[in-house]
Symmetry: C2
Subunit: 456 residues, 2 copies
């Protein structure tokens, strides 16, 4: 008996190690193919230079839909289709103007840009006293008595102590998204938010804000971190300083747009779907290279890698270029709705939306027992410097799948440089490294390989 | 008895966890101080812009010695001193010229630069047939019959499949270092080596070569990767293509130079030394920002962090700016010699010479039992994304300490971008990220904190 169980154990270990070995060989093939022949970088170059920035509702966003269809076909998708969704159509208008006006009359132009979804100022602009706050508590303490009729200046810098810059962003982000309405609560007539950036630089970083419908809508803009430091210094020396703000942005009628979906049908379980995506829309201040052209081309590269290596997946693999993550999330919502109404069975959703930087792990949004399945694969990723499977994570576009209890996975990457380019003109190819981008595609394809092979 | 041993066990575990907890608090302080108030980045900016590239023997290298002394004093070193060493003095001379001359007479200038330590061409340059080889085997097969009187063109690209780009460099590097003499063995009159770079770019990457004294010395240069691709295509279509090479580099008489050493004396074991360094000299084609200004300012930052946090080290900590790593290693040799003749007891040597990129681990060059001591500390580093303690490693400047069996440690960093800037004009501050550089300094200071506290 003992002999039999030992034989059984050895047989089991043998098959297990054979499987591990086969998987390890396959992962090596995937990463080697990505690094040697990957197309994600040239696709991203093409998308960012020929189409450029592509805010929802813009002609560029429509071009990007066509572009994605072609790339997915080139990558080898069996089928490519569009999912219609209705998206907001906000336009920036003329270049914004921001001027610091000291009490002695000295004027200084500073780099600002309207926050996404903001209303315009009156045509002639707004000139008003400006008051600096560092957080909502300080704003509340100042109250209507000190705020009414003024411009509120949120100067909440990134906390450099966070190793993961997304944590600093998470903490500071509310002054961009909710700051304008909170300022309006106390009678402010406009607000200026220090750019969400980890470095001192001379360009504003835009991003979405949202109005609280129960409060007056006021125009709001981002100011560069260097100019925020300058304004703060000037206000300390000269509290009677005023600020001039002029912007002509507009919310136009919603328009039709699309998610682009490309699929390779599963050979054994075609109804089980593994979806991977990034978002196609971007702010128009930059070219949307890291945010999130990177995620889109990496997802398309996943299809290409399967085709190039002749891997016929057991389960269906879908790459999705989601529309409208930046200012509405309508594409992600539509994808989730259709998955529900069409009774699709998604066994995993993956997203890359943290920039095309060196991958370091996967955030796992799933029950503990499924996490254990994924973590069992972790040693296979170590040769590729991917070691971190211990954090939560998903992605804005795949998050609507949570309603159906789909395990959600976010690609985690080195975050040190992201908030230097995020939502700013610097989000272009000069700041993307080919190998970093392709390692991310390799990581996604590898995890998807294991999921389609063994299920999750 | 059982009760007693359990109490003992609990007491032990309690003290152990207290120690771990105290260390974890200290590491958090070190990284927070580095990220919030670190000076390494501003120092590097200062060094690279005010002094610039600083090849051994140059006036800039001498300025850099003075600069380092000042920075070490500013950082809070108890004592700062110089270690004299004799270094080669190679100069590039006028800008080099490389021209592809097709058999139909069509000429095309291409980006080249002399390899470090190369001899000059005759004043009028060399024009000769050029023959492409991919490796030494191919060269040998061609032999004197095909090579004599020609220029050998080594076109050995980086193997993109290596995840760690240093492995690709390790494999291709011999065609730069030893290629010229190997070509001379078969009668070549000059050689051109494809730049040691991981990307397709339009600038040459220099670097040291060494002549085999038993063979004729021939002039040799690096050609940009894009131009190497072009030249290869042209040679396929037109094997009678010639190449014009002109360079006026010179090896002048050796000169006196210095390592710069700054120390904080240990309070309990002042005779036990932990040394950390980078090299101060750099190629003059760039500004020596990543290679290796980064390692120098990170080492000086280690001293500053100890001072700023009021940590009085038990053991002596030394930061060293080594001279002449690039073309001779005379500074590292001198440091090792002095350590030997002065009977210094080094308990560890650390080096940062892989660029100021996001740290991912430490390479350990030491016996297994000492590796286990370091690996015991590994969990303390995980919050800082430093996880890899499984590779070998040291550094060229600290390697002479190996004779005295000093445990050697190299900072391992993300290598994806290094060989885009390495030894080229792009090695400047535009390509250094403040947070990545400071995380490296935090990593070094943290490991040194543990070594000075517990020994090794």
């Amino acid at each position: 008996m003992k002999k039999i169980s030992l034989s059984f154990l050895f047989a089991f270990l043998f098959f297990f190690s054979q499987a591990q070995n086969k998987d390890s060989v396959m992962l090596k093939k995937i990463f080697s193919e990505a690094l040697s022949n990957g197309k994600a970088y040239t696709w991203l170059y093409d998308l960012t230079t020929k189409v450029g920035g592509r805010l929802s509702g813009s002609p560029q966003a429509a071009q990007a839909v066509e572009w994605s269809k072609k790339a997915m076909i080139e990558a080898g998708a069996d089928s490519v289709w569009l999912q219609e969704c209705t998206v907001p159509h906000w336009v920036r208008g003329e270049k914004e103007s921001g001027i610091i006006i000291q009490s002695n009359g000295k004027k200084q132009n500073v780099p600002i840009c309207a926050l996404g979804m903001s209303i315009a100022t009156p045509k002639e602009g707004i000139t008003a006293a400006i008051i600096e706050v560092h957080d909502f508590d300080e704003l509340k303490k100042l109250g209507e008595a000190n705020v009414k009729g003024k411009i509120v200046f949120y100067n909440h810098p990134f906390d450099q102590k966070f190793v993961n810059t997304f944590e600093a962003y998470g903490e500071a982000g509310k002054y961009r998204y909710a700051g304008p309405s909170e300022a309006a609560r106390y009678g402010a007539i406009a607000s200026i938010t220090r750019s969400m950036s980890s470095s001192d630089n001379d360009y504003p970083h835009t991003g979405a804000m949202g109005y609280n419908d129960s409060l007056p809508k006021i125009p709001c803009a981002a100011i560069s971190t260097n100019a925020a430091n300058l304004l703060s210094r000037i206000l300390k020396a000269d509290p009677k300083t005023k600020f001039f703000l002029k912007q002509s942005c507009q919310n136009l009628d919603s328009v039709k747009s699309y998610n682009v979906v490309g699929a390779i049908k599963g050979s054994e379980y075609p109804d089980e779907i593994v979806v991977v995506g990034g978002h196609l829309d971007s702010w128009e201040t930059g070219k949307g290279a890291h945010d999130d052209g990177a995620g889109v081309v990496q997802s398309i590269e996943v299809l290409r890698l399967f085709k190039a290596l002749g891997i016929r997946p057991k389960r269906t693999i879908r790459a999705v270029a989601f529309m409208n993550e930046e200012n509405g999330g309508m594409g992600g919502k539509k994808y989730g709705e259709l998955a529900m109404t069409n009774h699709e069975k998604h066994i995993a959703g993956l997203e890359s939306d943290a920039g095309g930087f060196t991958p370091k792990g996967f955030g796992l949004g799933m029950p503990e027992e499924k996490k254990l399945v994924v973590k069992k694969w972790a040693p296979l990723f170590l040769p590729y410097n991917i070691y971190d499977f211990d954090h939560e994570g998903d992605g804005a576009d795949i998050s609507p799948l949570r309603k159906q209890n789909v395990p959600l996975i976010g690609l985690h990457v080195d975050s040190q440089r992201y908030f230097e380019v995020h939502h700013a003109w610097t989000d272009n190819m000069d700041n993307v490294n080919r190998r970093e981008l392709l390692l991310g595609a390799g990581a996604l394809a590898s995890l998807i390989y294991l999921i389609q092979e063994y299920g999750l």
